[in-house]
Symmetry: C2
Subunit: 204 residues, 2 copies
Amino acid sequence: MAGQGGRRAGAARERLLAAALTLFARQGVSGTSLQMIADELGVTKAAVYHQFQSKDDIVLAVVGPAIDGLAGVIGPAEAQTTGARRRAVALRGLVDLIVRNRRLAAILYADPVVVDLVRTDPALRAYGERMKALLAGPEPDVATKVAVSVLGGGLAGAAVDPLLAGVDDATLHEHLLATGRRILRVRPGSGPHSAGCSAAVAIR
Amino acid sequence: MAGQGGRRAGAARERLLAAALTLFARQGVSGTSLQMIADELGVTKAAVYHQFQSKDDIVLAVVGPAIDGLAGVIGPAEAQTTGARRRAVALRGLVDLIVRNRRLAAILYADPVVVDLVRTDPALRAYGERMKALLAGPEPDVATKVAVSVLGGGLAGAAVDPLLAGVDDATLHEHLLATGRRILRVRPGSGPHSAGCSAAVAIR
DNA sequence: GTCTATACGCTGATAGAC
DNA sequence: GTCTATCAGCGTATAGAC
């Protein structure tokens, strides 16, 4: 389940991914050329192109761990016995994941190239649908569909917002969870104890 | 106040803007080259460059009417006498504006190039800050700042979401307003009667 | 396995002729 | 207003050196 993005290891490959993440976070995917990544590593463009078949490949590899994290949230959430619990566990796990990967959230969210990539990839697309299904429940009415849509955009937006960059993770997590519950009309008590979810995946 | 994006009129200019909006909405700003716009009009790239100094100029001109619409919301909202009313009027006006300009919202929102452009332009930036100030009130606590941030991303996200493309404007408006009130913890009764705001600006 | 050299077609942008 | 011509830079791609 882990590492569907290809994992041939190699030191150069890891260095490249680290540099790419830094540059992507700073100036977006579209705003980062292969030349910039190459310059950052002190090699030529072709050297970069040798390890990844395309720029999209690099993006997918950078984003991979977060996708694994999403899978780590979805699994336990789907195992819950009631719809309310599934919703509560999914929400908490999603907030958790986003807070822990704010920089990555900005990349995933703010760039249409990446959004398109994620929407195109069948496996990634399936994760998104399962997450939405968990949050919305079966056969949701329009109000619920709107709420889930707002939640998705809202969580991502908050993670990206430079005005919230100074807020520490714990505080952001608390308020994001509270806001999310208001959006979905979930009572704070719902869901089991602490819920064992989200396989860490703190990127950088 | 209207038309700060430059309004030399001219039939060719208007045709160009219409073509640009269509292409931007369909494939994003970054995904639309000047060549595509030129081809759509049956002219060369250089002809496009004669009317606009840069691609950014075109984007700003396309987005201009929506900015005017935002100004039309902010003014009346700031004229309200209490913080609660200012918040209520601003929220309703913002939802109104976004629902009426869904296609444009997708352009404004989903592309980091445009987001950057808007964030860079001092006048546009000021509108955004005034809107946030209206929604958050003076000296907001962290919870409120998070809520406003989530609201912004959420409204935009819902406007863009292809899953909600089939929902008609009135229904979307209703549920978006309800969700927004839950996010900001505004009671449905707040704010005066209907509130005269938002200068139409239905693009296309 | 890791890299360089080289090239293709495209982009946004500029200068100047008609 | 529109054209042709030209520019550096981009993502992409192949061939081949070590």
